[in-house]
Amino acid sequence: MSARWPTIRMIVNGEQRGIQAPPMKRLLDVLRQDLHLTGTKEGCGEGECGSCSVRMNGELVNSCLIPVLQAQGAEIQTVEGLAPKLEPGGTLHPLQEAFLACGGAQCGICTPGMLMAAAQLLETHPRPTLAEIREGLAGNLCRCTGFMRIFESVLAASTQASQPALRQAHHAR
């Protein structure tokens, strides 16, 4: 059945992947169903909530709004690709550490998207102001935290020096 679909090649989290899929299949569904990268979540499915945020060729995008054919040849980073090698005893990305330490993650549905939007923000604004954080995350909705702890998490992650302090705060809980 899949023979009639084109082969789409992408670099996903640094690895060359090829899948066969209908060209109008959403990148979100290809990530979750074909590549089993279920960290990326579906919220609204219409580009309003940011749960499905991933990075494509260095830009933040909503994977629910991308026909997979348009990802042909692209470099995709999902939440699974944030920390280099996630295994027991491995290290988390500073943003993940900060979300843990500051209570930035609660139910978890928005968290992967928040992390990707925050990672994008820190790349363009390594020391963001609160206003810049608010703008960078404005497309990502959270119904648990009231946002303040997420903003605090991003601020904390942007302050390199606070990393040991963050870990300490986390372990003290």
């Binding site: 899929a21 209908p22 060209p23 109008m24 299949k25 959403r26 569904d29 579906e42 499915g45 219409e46 580009g47 309003e48 940011g50 945020s53 830009e59 933040l60 995008v61 909503n62 629910c64 709004l65 991308i66 026909p67 054919l69 348009q70 042909q72 939007a117 994008q120 923000l121 608010r134 703008e135 960078g136 404005a138 497309g139 990502n140």
Partner: protein, 292 residues
């Protein structure tokens, strides 16, 4: 996800010539899709009425911002992130840069294109008031021809435009002669980010010794499509800026605006806010920060 991806064909020929060729061979059969921020929403909801789509994403000839002596030219495939990053836009066309920053979120701005915003033709389109008051021209291309029309003649009805079935919006030309104009753009929505406009008003005016020598007003959500407010402009043109003139302007826009009631707002609210926005701009021209 109610749509079925298997029922849609999507091709990506990769070059402008190849896209135009497809559209010439089967006129009307192919729906162009750029960043997908509109059509993919329809697709997810199962209401995408487009069996055959041709991708404009990644067509290099459509994604550019460059300057000639007279104009800044923006390719239809330039994203709103491209516009925000372009020094030409932020320095010379600040209203367009501001509008670009209002489009959805960062993730929407990295995909949504200027051409897509215009062809989609929402009455609330964020980029439209700025383009109207900068007197933009639209360059349209097909395999047979290319032509230019004023942007204020591009929209012809609710979600209808001047494109023939084999034509593509190629570029937007923005004249570089507004540097000495007073400029204004304000959007009123439900929240600061991710909101679709209830009302937006843009304005440019050239003032000479207290007299309005040139004025353009462009509005979103005051009619079935983004429009210039020619009659309100006429009521203000060649008049000295006074408190009386501000009242004249209010009356004119209240008469000319034809908004509707919908899920986002009411016609009455939109008319009043439009008049308040115009008043705010005219008070700025008068040199008064706030209403006395």
């Amino acid at each position: 996800m109610r749509g079925n991806p298997e029922t849609h064909e999507l091709v990506a020929p990769g070059s402008l010539a190849a896209v135009l060729h497809l559209m010439a061979v089967e006129p009307g059969a192919w729906t162009p899709i750029a960043g997908g921020t509109e059509l993919m929403v329809a697709h997810a909801a199962g209401r995408l009425n487009a069996p055959k789509l041709v991708s404009l994403w990644g067509v290099p000839e459509l994604r550019f911002v460059h300057a000639t002596d007279e104009s800044i030219v923006v390719g239809a495939g330039a994203t709103f992130a491209d516009l925000r990053r372009s020094a030409l836009i932020t320095e010379e066309l600040p209203l367009l840069a501001k509008a670009a920053s209002w489009i959805g979120s960062i993730a929407n701005q990295s995909r949504a294109t200027l051409g897509g915003n215009l062809v989609n033709g929402s009455p609330a389109a964020d980029s439209s008031p700025a383009l109207l008051v900068y007197d933009a021209e639209i360059e349209i291309i097909s395999a047979r021809d290319s032509r230019r029309i004023p942007y204020h003649k591009f929209h012809t009805g609710y979600k209808r435009n001047a494109l023939a079935v084999d034509e593509l919006l190629y570029a937007v030309h923005l004249p570089r002669r507004f540097g000495h104009h007073r400029q204004y753009l304000r959007k009123v929505g439900t929240r600061r980010a991710m909101a679709i406009s209830k009302v937006a008003l843009g304005a440019t005016a050239f003032i000479e010794t207290g007299v309005i020598r040139e004025i353009r007003l462009g509005a979103a959500s005051l009619a079935a499509f983004p429009t210039r407010l020619h009659r309100t402009e006429d009521a203000l043109l060649n008049k000295p800026i006074t408190n009386d003139l501000i009242q004249t302007g209010r009356n004119a826009i209240l008469t000319e605006a034809l908004p509707i009631d919908d899920i986002r707002s009411t016609a009455e609210y939109r008319r009043r806010v439009a008049a308040n926005l115009l008043e705010e701009f005219l008070f700025e021209l008068l040199g008064v920060e706030k209403r006395p």
